[in-house]
Symmetry: C2
Subunit: 372 residues, 2 copies
């Protein structure tokens, strides 16, 4: 038995062929392709295909895949009934956790319905789960789930607003989905792999991923970043406020990373989109406020922004409610989780570590009557 | 970066003061108390209290705790509505995963409603979630959830059959809940701790635990053991059948353990109950068949039965449907998971390991039009 560092920091717990996070000289690649190329030149669906099937689709494959995903968007009647019972003030991550768990009872995994088929269904249906619930709870509106949008990014924005999205919003959403699609053995993916390692079903693994992503030390960080940024009216106020928070040893979300040491290669990509959108936004100053916070964090703590930080304002400028930020992360990461479930299944061993016991030495049993 | 063995076998990934699994000279203790004393002399609720609050309750504390749990059994109306939408042929583990996720939307964790309060609610309500769904789907019967039973073991059996359980069935169920209550960093507990480590809510961590427990390499093993045992009509047929399975390199569930090397200290306890119950059971021969399988596995593979193996027939003789075996494991392990969530929160660090990249080297991006 050997003891390893707390939180498994820096400890290699398995192999993966899916992505390279912070590997020297490579940065972030999905199946060997650089994240900068993918986010600039592809649609999210190409990346999902790449992650799940292991290769970039050609034109014919992509067309077929897009068509297939379009047919998989509809919600089963009983899933809608369940979503209608989830209270209005529920965090949308709990809606997704419950909705996808429910879907697993309506369309369970079987030998004839498994893996990639379920992954594709989840990619296609998740925007509808979120937004059916949202519009029903907000104004008792049972929305139509089908749209004429070809791409998931556009479909999501269309369901949110009820109309065809602006081109630059759809582009930002598409890029964001690509950037969030996959990230090696992060906590939610690792949880999904552990669930998979007991030979549990596909949905159980995804549900573990969603619940784990929910926390502010993981997916919830983009929502926490928005809460931070939006509390300041000017860059000066942000500089003063963040300095004060640092003095008080408060945690500033959206900075640094467990694996990356000098920068998050995804941050500049989304920062650029946030900046472009800020020019047309009524509260575009939030971008300048973000930049000021970035500067303070570099100067004072030598910390760099991670993907979550500028994603916050990018989403905000697209008109997306803050508590949808982490659910969007789910829509993207479903691709990565699915790839990891498939990979874990292809060469499985139960993930069951040991613990170091620090508790009481053996105690003599005390009968109930004699206990004080 | 250092590389560790696959499945984290034998790797210490953190500290715990809750239980000792396979520690030399100690065997299995919960908070220092030997599992043999606890299973012989206590009620499951004393053990749940011990795990969650860190001490065995005295008479007054236990009386108050039992009373409190009795008041926490009722199902919210909207949870019942959701359970009624879950199809009849659903695996009960998926019912629990979905039902408890739904409960998390109806009674979310807040600063004023957290940790032990939610743990107690889950302990009290879970039998009702399972059996409300079961009776509704079986015969459209909306059962009353309250019973006059003081103990959870009795309450569960009462809800299952509609009447006060036989004393020996209730005793067996109580002992089984104690034996299954806690087991250090097993896969489901580790998954729950990872979910907790992102600062996700209590329900998300429990839901990860349920999904992970579901697999046949973990909680699902007791159901798999029953399927194995019940396929044989005689001990002789079992001996021949299991030998043949071993020749075909088929996996026999319910034997061996990742951590225990020579025996599972819980096995003899539940074997004794199975044996006692077999004497009155119409299909009591299943016990003799089990013993024969145990003998073959020792002779041929030098493997010992784990808790799951004799739990299968013990439950069966109590009249419990096979696909409730793993859900009973949940009812018990809720106590252990809760203790681990509390422990993880008390000294948290994000659990985020590294991976060894074995995929493609960097690939030049290929535009869609040029892909083959």
């Amino acid at each position: 038995m050997s003891e390893v560092s707390k939180g498994l920091s820096g400890i290699v717990v398995g192999d993966t062929a899916i992505s390279t996070v912070g590997k020297a000289g490579v940065g972030l690649t999905y199946r060997g392709y650089d994240i900068h190329d993918l986010s600039e030149y592809t649609q999210f669906e190409e990346v999902a295909y790449l992650l799940i099937y292991g290769k970039l689709p050609n034109k014919i494959e992509l067309a077929a895949y897009l068509k297939k995903l379009q047919t998989l968007r509809e919600l089963p009647h009983n899933l809608k009934s369940v979503l209608e019972k989830i209270p209005q003030n529920t965090h949308p991550m709990d809606v997704l956790r419950t909705g996808i768990s429910m879907l697993g009872t309506l369309e369970p995994e079987t030998t004839g319905y498994t893996s990639a088929a379920i992954a594709n269904r989840l990619l296609a249906i998740t925007p509808g789960i979120l937004l059916y619930w949202y519009h029903f709870q907000k104004q008792q509106n049972r929305i139509e789930i089908q749209t004429d949008e070809i791409y998931l990014a556009n479909h999501f924005l269309h369901l949110l607003t009820g109309h065809t999205p602006k081109k630059e919003f759809a582009k930002t959403m598409n890029v964001s989905l690509i950037l969030y699609a996959e990230h090696e053995f992060n906590a939610s993916t690792f949880a999904a792999r552990i669930t998979t390692s007991t030979l549990a079903d596909f949905y159980s693994a995804i549900v573990s991923g969603i619940g784990t992503l929910r926390g502010p030390l993981h997916g919830g960080a983009n929502e926490a970043a928005m809460a931070l940024i939006s509390q300041f009216k000017t860059p000066l106020a942000a500089a003063q406020g963040v300095k004060k928070m640092l003095e008080n040893k408060e945690k500033i979300m959206g900075f640094g990373h467990r694996v990356y040491r000098s920068c998050d290669p995804r941050s500049d990509v989304i920062k650029n989109y946030s900046q472009q959108l800020s020019k047309e936004a009524i509260d575009g100053d939030l971008f300048l406020i973000s930049e000021q916070i970035e500067k303070i964090m570099r100067d004072e703590k030598n910390l760099f922004p991670n993907l979550d930080f500028y994603s916050a304002t990018a989403y905000h400028f697209c008109g997306i409610p803050t508590d949808f930020f982490t659910p969007i992360f789910v829509m993207a990461r479903l691709a990565g989780w699915s790839a990891h479930i498939l990979e874990q299944r292809s060469d499985n061993r139960l993930i069951r570590p040991d613990a170091n016991y620090i508790g009481l030495t053996p105690q003599a049993f005390i009968p109930l009557e004699q206990r004080i």
